[in-house]
């Protein structure tokens, strides 16, 4: 049996890792703000954050495609700066993935931060820890499970995305052909053996990741409020 090209798998892994990293940086402050704010616009921001959960990926992909096209302000700016287009590129996929997976990062983190309550942070403040200090040394370590859950969900969700990627990135081998699209194409062209192999690889990978998460989660110290 002929082994299928594994390039799409590596591309998917790179994309998922990059999207997860970007979302940890962007999603953490947003989740922290959502967990602590009493602002009246909180529900609006929460709704915007959750939008990718309910929108058909093609709708999200369509708007992202419009936004990234060289004729839009964002796409135009990108072309001016980098001399490449955002659409049908890895960077475009990354931007799309970050938007698409945002709720998978923000929601578990927000829940973890909310479950902390005000106790540990007040205790830290009373010990003269500044808010950033208290976040890094108390809130973040106590929310380790939240971070792990959020990162794994984001990573796995990005690996599995299809509709948005197809709309924004198309199907360019080595550039935008991620594993889900490769499987789709193999099926379309009736190359079931290759489709099978890639699908099986993805299955095993997802299973291994989940087992790792559950084992690791159990080993984390139990935090009793």
């Amino acid at each position: 049996m002929e082994l299928p090209e594994l390039g799409p798998l590596w591309l998917s892994l790179q994309l998922a890792a990059a999207a997860t990293a970007v979302l940890i940086v962007l999603g953490t402050p947003l989740a922290w703000w959502l967990a602590r704010t009493r602002s009246r616009i909180k529900p609006v921001i929460e709704a915007v954050t959750a939008l990718p959960l309910v929108l058909p990926p093609t709708v999200l992909g369509f708007y992202l495609l419009l936004l990234m096209s060289p004729r839009s302000w964002l796409g135009g700016l990108w072309v001016e700066i980098t001399d490449t287009t955002l659409t049908f590129s890895f960077m475009g996929l990354l931007v799309a993935s970050v938007v698409y997976s945002l709720p998978f990062m923000v929601q578990p983190l927000q829940a973890a931060f909310e479950s902390l309550g005000r106790g540990p942070l007040e205790a830290a403040a009373a010990l003269r820890a500044s808010p950033i200090d208290a976040f890094l040394t108390v809130a973040a370590p106590l929310s380790l499970r939240g971070f792990l859950t959020a990162a794994v969900l984001t990573f796995a969700h990005t690996i599995g995305e299809f509709g948005v990627v197809l709309m924004v990135g198309g199907n360019i081998p080595g550039k935008t052909r991620v594993i889900s699209i490769a499987i789709y194409e193999h099926v379309e062209t009736l190359r079931y053996a290759e489709a099978h192999t890639l699908a099986a690889v993805l299955m095993l990978f997802a299973f291994a990741v989940l087992v790792f998460v559950y084992v690791f989660n159990r080993r984390l110290p139990v935090h009793v409020a």
Binding site: A124, A126, R128, A129
Partner: protein, 393 residues
């Protein structure tokens, strides 16, 4: 504002502390509080300057605003208005636009629920405080001293989840001390503990102030804790200061029963140790020339003074010296007040013993049968006496 307010609250209650840090300093530093906190259905308004020395109890029933006052001092009540200053350093001045955030206020505190960091062991919790202690105002507080004073040695590598309630409070006290605060706030450190654990922790609390000398506000709704620990008392009721003054005077004059049913009026007596009796394991005390015997107080030497708490419900009255009874302590005095509560069966009698006053809760019927009247010589029978167990005082 308050009839019992005294200029220098240290006076009487501080005498038991000897010449330790409880003695009044030359120019007295003050914690100035003039704050108002209002939110749904609650309104706290406190205007009171408190000497920044010794132990001041913030006393009152649940819902009286004790914890809100503490949180205001800590900077956790965003809605607080007014002014707070410690020894001239302004932490809050709404009109002047000053509101120091909590982490800029040199306050150490313990919470009712401990709030140790669960991801750190006890040593880690102590280190957390020490690393951020910043100001070297009280840099004399060394980790070894704190560990020693609170017996934290065996707990250092334990996680908070594995500690008992009492151990947790001890560790939290240690952590608060190691933040080297200029003011220590203790929010009902004993309230979550059962009786046995309370008695375990109390000696540590008593030893804390003499050893480290950090001005302390001790929030409590338990009159016995307050009587034993505090040099002076700030009584809060429904968000207002009801009384502020020395522990002995406040407890003597305050109608504690009026604060809530749960409170028991009590008197604090200070008596000198006269002798120890080895055979019966008793200690003889001298109270204004009258003798008292109590279960032996091991840590006090002859000549030192002990603080006693006598609840009014533990005092009976007689008009003649009673024939031998199992009650060992009978004090003679003069009835100086008799307050009858027409809505209950009870009356409260105040007996003057010389320099101390006792209060007795008796039934109105017995007051009539005994023919009690103000000015009458009476004998007070003490069924039980609580002792201040403060070590080394």
């Amino acid at each position: 504002m308050s009839p019992d307010r005294v200029a220098n609250g240290i006076g009487v209650a501080g005498s038991a502390a000897g010449a330790g840090p409880g003695a009044p300093p030359e120019t007295e530093a003050l914690l100035e509080i003039d704050v108002r906190v209002e939110y749904d259905g609650f309104d706290l308004q406190v205007e009171q300057s408190i000497p920044a020395s010794g132990v001041t109890a913030v006393f009152g029933p649940s819902g009286s605003g004790k914890t809100t006052l503490l949180r205001t001092l800590l900077g956790f009540e965003a809605l607080s208005r007014g002014r707070i200053a410690l020894d001239g350093d302004v932490w809050l001045d709404t009109e002047g636009g000053v509101a120091a955030p909590p982490h800029r206020r040199p306050v150490g505190c313990t919470f009712q629920d401990g709030r140790l960091f669960p991801h750190l062991d006890v040593a880690g919790n102590l280190r957390y405080a020490e690393r951020r202690s910043g100001t070297k105002v009280a840099a004399s507080i060394a980790q070894e001293d704190v560990v020693d004073a609170l017996d934290l040695g065996p707990l250092l590598d334990r996680r908070p989840q594995t500690l008992s309630g009492g151990e947790r409070q001890r560790a939290a006290l240690g952590r608060a001390l190691l933040s080297r605060p200029r003011l220590l706030l203790l929010d009902e450190p004993l309230s979550a503990l059962d009786r046995q654990r309370k008695e375990e922790i109390l000696p540590y609390l008593l030893a804390l102030h003499p050893r480290f000398g950090i001005p302390t506000l001790y929030v409590s709704h338990a009159v016995d804790e307050v009587a034993l620990l505090a040099d002076r008392i700030l009584v809060l009721a429904e968000g207002r200061v009801q009384t502020f003054g020395g522990t002995v005077e406040v407890l003597e004059h305050l109608d504690l029963t009026s604060l809530t049913e749960r409170f028991q009026a009590a008197a604090v007596l200070e008596a000198g140790v006269e002798a120890h009796d080895g055979e019966y394991r008793l200690t003889w005390l001298d109270l204004d020339g009258q003798r008292l015997s109590v279960p032996r107080i091991e840590h006090l030497a002859v000549g030192e003074s002990a603080r006693l708490l006598v609840r009014s419900r533990d005092v009976s009255l007689a008009t003649e010296r009673p024939s031998p009874t199992s009650i060992r302590n009978v004090l003679s005095g003069v009835l100086v007040a008799l307050d009858q509560d027409e809505s209950t069966a009870f009356a409260e009698a105040t007996v003057d013993l010389g320099s101390h006053r006792l209060r007795a809760r008796i039934t109105r019927a017995s007051a009539v049968e005994l023919g009690l009247a103000v000015g009458l010589p009476v004998f007070a029978l003490l069924k039980s006496v609580s002792l201040d167990t403060r070590a080394g005082r």
